[in-house]
Symmetry: C2
Subunit: 759 residues, 2 copies
């Protein structure tokens, strides 16, 4: 057993084991042990838990606005709710946790718990729960509940559907009716503003000799158990909504019929996960903690990702309602790259969601006086802006703060253009470009051109009043990240116009009524947009006059100025605003996206400058700087930041509640960035022309890393140790791939074995 933290262990790097129960871990463990399948997430709670314990089953595509302010995904009633009593005494993990173990089985995507208690009359009773969110039947969550004893006891199991759900922003159940189906119960819900139908149906498989009292929806069964005859009880929760199918009740009943039992369902689930891990696993030798951390994060990235439909990956996935389950730039920049190189269909899905929401982005641009597609900072399912004007509260005064994420954080549109091009580069999916991509690129370019201003006396375009990725500095001009991305977005739009068939271009131009004078303007902006370049020391200024701000080193010292722990550091008058302290990577974010366009010396100058100024208060930040540091050959720093990022959810290092608002749950950007830290960071992977570039620099303790990647319809197994990079192509009869390793060029036919030892 390898110790990860005080009460966390792993055996093989495929499982997370917790060995002690602490009441205070309710939120963290609910997230850590989360199960899910991209359709729903079911928190890693116990069957007996209720909303006080942050039980939640969050379902994709169920956005509803119950309090008039916040649109969020709905938490549905818990059909796995089950309690136990032993000889009349309630058994609860909260008071009975003598021998405790809770496991997240990453390979099988199950969680287990096992807890036992010795009662006054001498009997030691144990309860084992196993749950999984079926990857094969995505509407089903399955539970096996076993009660064992060393002396004969009478037990009673109460089970039903707990409709008193934990919901962050109001009651989403405008209507909620129970119904009976083949002796089990279901609940038929109509949501508050969306008016969606949600069906939650339980299916119970009682032990043969259970005496079941069926008078109430919460049914009770009495059993006599002995040491050689434990009780095994199975329960299934079926969730279907009118967003999934036209007749959700019919589909739920059909699924009810199809479920034969826990083991059978588990087999199909395991097969699905075996396939997933074949695509996604990263094997690490030499550091079991890193191995576990990487798999733990990949697991959370995978369960947060909808694959059944073109839907976004929420900032907290399906682990809770925080951050509204909505689309943020995280999706394109933090989550998509992993899928791009493992399962590009998912990347495509994420981009198709952005195409589906183009009208919303167009409406936002128009409302604010711009043209083209200004994607929302927090996008609802129709592309509507979910980010409210007043986001935070000033804890010192109790007044609302007007943050400007929803109007000034324009880079989200350019990020999407970047993601479109990354997708196209990795897949050469012409059809996607013709059906979706080109239109998006042109509308984003159009927005970009409407957001720049021309400064006559400087003879250049500039971009004013933005927020870059670092949100602590609002209302800034010529943010290096944003200006670079803006020029990039214009360039790729022009490229698209010049690359694709004139017929396609003609059609898309007609669809969006693009005029030639707009294109002329784009060319002009590309030529004359102010692009901050490195100063003499090689450092790029984050925005105009950033260097004039107060230097506080290290940035962590800034907290000495806090009046209240819960203060927001940023706009309008937080302690970071007039300092160089930044919440998260900004210039480094830019350099990581365009890794090959900067020299190693420039990478070094910037990581050396910005890292000590970075508070890393965003879960997005450590991974970006980890990649930047690896690119700069600052390997010790890169490793530190890599583990910082890995541990965010694994060790639950972030606050769950701030200023009275729940912000817990899994950090899907950090989860998704884990793949990037290994592949972009330690293996130095980039795309260049039609080929791939590697620049391996493994962490000290790693003896070997192995993974599978996908590039232009081909699968490549990548293995590296300190001495060798080994590439093996699952070759179909396709053209070889050009590969550059440590700046030398090779051609990958079937295999390549390249020495990477330091000379």
């Amino acid at each position: 057993m390898h110790k990860i933290a005080d009460d966390l262990k792993t055996k093989t790097g495929w499982e997370l084991i917790k060995t002690a129960y602490h009441a205070s871990d309710a939120i963290g463990d609910g997230t850590r042990f989360l199960i899910g399948n991209g359709y729903l997430g079911y928190r890693g709670t116990f069957a007996e838990n209720t909303k006080e314990d942050y039980v939640a089953c969050v379902v994709t595509d169920t956005w509803d606005n119950a309090d008039g302010k916040w649109e969020e995904l709905v938490t549905v009633p818990n059909a796995l709710w089950t309690t136990l009593s032993v000889d009349g005494t309630p058994f609860s993990v909260k008071t009975h946790h003598g021998a405790f173990e809770k496991t997240l089985d990453l390979k099988g995507a199950l969680n287990h718990s096992s807890v036992s208690h010795t009662f006054n009359h001498g009997a030691t009773v144990s309860v084992k729960e196993s749950k999984f969110a079926s990857y094969a039947l995505k509407h089903v969550v399955a539970m096996r509940y076993e009660v064992a004893t060393d002396q004969a006891v009478d037990i009673a199991i109460t089970t039903g559907i707990d409709s008193d759900v934990w919901s962050m922003n109001g009651n989403h159940f405008a209507k909620s009716d129970y119904f009976i189906h083949e002796g089990d119960y279901g609940v038929n819900i109509t949501t508050t503003t969306a008016k969606d139908t949600i069906i939650v149906l339980e299916k119970t498989v009682w032990p043969e000799d259970a005496k079941v009292d069926t008078k109430a929806p919460k049914r009770k069964a009495h059993l006599h158990i002995t040491p050689d005859k434990p009780c095994v009880f199975e329960k299934f929760m079926i969730v279907v909504t009118s967003n999934d199918v036209t007749h959700p009740l019919d589909v739920a009943k059909d699924l009810y019929r199809k479920i034969y039992g826990f083991e059978a369902l588990k087999k199909a689930h395991s097969a699905a996960w075996d396939a997933l891990w074949t695509m996604h696993d990263i094997e690490i030798e030499g550091n079991l903690a890193d191995q576990l951390g990487v798999r733990f994060n990949l697991y959370h990235a995978l369960i947060a990702t909808p694959v059944h439909k073109a839907l976004p990956i929420g900032a907290r996935g399906l682990s809770c309602q925080a951050y509204q389950g909505a689309a943020w730039w995280d999706g394109e920049i933090y989550n998509m790259p992993m899928y791009l190189f493992t399962n590009p269909l998912i990347a495509k899905n994420l981009l198709i969601f952005r195409h589906k929401t183009l009208d919303g982005a167009r409406a936002k641009a128009k409302r604010l006086g711009y043209e083209g597609a200004f994607y929302p900072w927090v996008s609802g399912k129709r592309g509507e802006e979910l980010c409210p004007d007043f986001f935070f509260k000033d804890v010192l005064t109790g007044r609302d703060i007007r943050n400007h994420f929803n109007v000034w954080q324009i880079h989200v549109s350019m990020d999407i253009a970047y993601a479109v091009m990354q997708y196209y580069h990795a897949t050469q999916d012409h059809a996607f470009m013709e059906d979706y991509g080109i239109e998006m690129l042109l509308e984003i370019a159009r927005f970009t051109a409407s957001r720049v201003v021309w400064i006559p006396h400087r003879n250049r375009y500039e971009i004013h009043q933005v927020l870059g990725p670092d949100v602590y500095h609002e209302n800034i001009d010529n943010n290096a990240f944003t200006n670079w991305m803006a020029r990039y977005a214009l360039k790729v739009a022009i490229d698209a116009l010049e690359t694709f068939s004139s017929e396609t271009i003609k059609r898309v131009k007609k669809t969006i009524q693009l005029r030639d004078d707009e294109i002329t303007l784009w060319h002009d902006i590309i030529d004359k947009l102010m692009i901050p370049s490195p100063n003499k020391a090689g450092v790029i200024e984050q925005f105009d006059h950033y260097f004039d701000l107060e230097t506080v080193l290290p940035a962590s010292k800034l907290k000495e100025r806090l009046i209240d722990e819960g203060e927001y550091y940023g706009w309008p008058n937080g302690i970071a605003v007039y300092t160089q302290c930044i919440k998260q990577a900004d210039v480094i974010q830019l350099m990581v996206l365009f890794r090959n366009q900067f020299t190693e010396a420039t990478h070094q100058a910037n990581i050396d400058y910005y890292e000590p100024r970075t508070l890393h208060f965003s879960s997005l930040s450590p991974s970006t700087n980890a990649i930047g540091a690896a690119r700069a050959n600052r390997m010790a720093l890169s490793e530190t930041l890599f583990r910082h990022s890995l541990n965010i959810d694994l060790l639950n290092t972030k606050k769950s509640v701030t200023g009275g608002t729940f912000i817990g749950g899994s950090h899907t950007a950090a989860n998704g960035a884990t793949w990037q830290m290994v592949m972009f960071g330690f293996l130095g992977l980039t795309m260049e022309g039609d080929g791939l570039v590697f620049h391996p620099r493994l962490p000290q303790s790693w003896t070997r890393v192995k993974t599978t990647m996908y590039f232009r319809d081909q699968t490549i197994i990548v293995t590296a140790d300190k001495a060798t990079l080994y590439l093996k192509r699952r070759a179909m009869s396709m053209a070889p791939i050009s590969v550059s390793v440590l700046n030398r060029n090779y051609t990958l036919h079937d295999t390549l074995k390249i020495s990477i030892e330091k000379s």
Copy 2:
């Protein structure tokens, strides 16, 4: 005796009489009874007072920075300091104010106080002080000090120079040495950072039989007085600095020699003030309170105005150090118009100060990345920006607030262009334009052109990130006031280029290296600058999206949201920021400056819209809305606002201290605007072409108003009653003046008598 307030009276409208002593009035009375002559201001305190009583003598052009943060005028040692004891008992107004009267004689520009006390032994002793700041010898303040009794008593008078001055921001006396001159004392000061020399010299005229003890600089004289032989003691304070003359000590000694006595000096002073009132007085019949209020404000405007040198009028004049005695836009917009039409040399002086400080304005523009002349929000004597980045403190958190007056409040430059043109329009002073005006106009236009941005997709120029006159809304775009003023500034620069002789233009263009492509750009901006025009209801939006802000009516209700009385309402998160409540006139300010360019209906729509939204927390605001309301024929409102403005200093209606900072003193903008309210408001005076326009609408209670104005080298006596406007020209052999009254045209040769009765 006409009662003005509880303890304030006037007899003839030429004097303000206070009839009761209240210790709490120290600050207010010090300001109210201020004497001054544009070179120095001496607060209306008692001879016995010290810094605890806010004694101050503030001297022009002595800016010094003692605390590293605030540059301010110096308060010099008080050479009039005098105390009295009667039969060994100290006599103090603080404890002995049995019969009290304090008078400000507006006609003679003197203050008097008279206070008496009956002692235990039965003697009633009275002290009378008279003081004036000589308008004839501007370096001299004179005092006559008389002690009378109804029984013989022994008195002792102690007098000297009190160097323990009230200074707001640090000690400005780096060095301070006493010297003796002809038995009197003087003090020779070197200031802290400016290293100026300041000489303060006393001249004492003792009563003949005084026994003077001269051992210490604070000398004591013993006298025996009887009912028929009071004590009369005279003292003179001489102030000369190295900013005035090269050898200030020699000049001070020369003045010492020239001063013969109080009465002689007073005669010259009175003659000077008689001449001043001939130019400036406004006679009102029918409302003695208004008459007093108008004269009181004109008096304060006059004593605040330097005439000896091209120096600005401080926002608090010479009444204290608040607002740094620096140049603000108030000078051009609130103070200058009165002088323009009464004594244009003073207007010219104010503008020459701006020309002298052009280099400072150029340096500010350059430092911030612009071109031309960006005048400081708070201008020091070399045009350096005195307004600090952090101006206010957030009283709720104790944190400094970064207000942006010094970087975003750009209209000050355009205001100066407006003032230049007003001056030129009123005087046709070609020489001024050739020597100063054209260069200023071109440099301001150049700055303006460098501050606009071109928005390609809207095919227009805009101006972003400014503050208009209403400072509660920072960081706004397309402020109606600023955009109008910007276009105006460009237009008048182009006009100047086209109007003046090609030789002059060639010379100025060469001096400032103006390129032809700049002029082409100015033309383009004039054509395509976004100018907010009235909406369907006739209202001009103050800035982009102002109408979307929350409406709170009346604006005064907003204060219910205060957490702390001392809170700043504006940036970054004050209670006005996200509402339509404004600190002061903004759109109305624009309409008042360009009164003839808007219809009466538009004036009405805007005053009706904005007045209830205006908090009038700036002393500049009521007068502007009073003029706007008169122009809109909202006469009841105009009268209310007129008196609101009149009473600011008269009734001391503003806070003297806020957030620990002294902001008391006279409000010179409101003082100066008094003339505008009568002339521009009630008489409806504007300039049009080469002539004058009148649109008289007198307040209800006024039966007659009479004043003298100056226009293009001619003096015109303007008299109006409800029925008639009577114009009388002190005709020299000059061309007649075209006059429009109530939209009908006339020609003024010698006199014009026009019926203005309502039909």
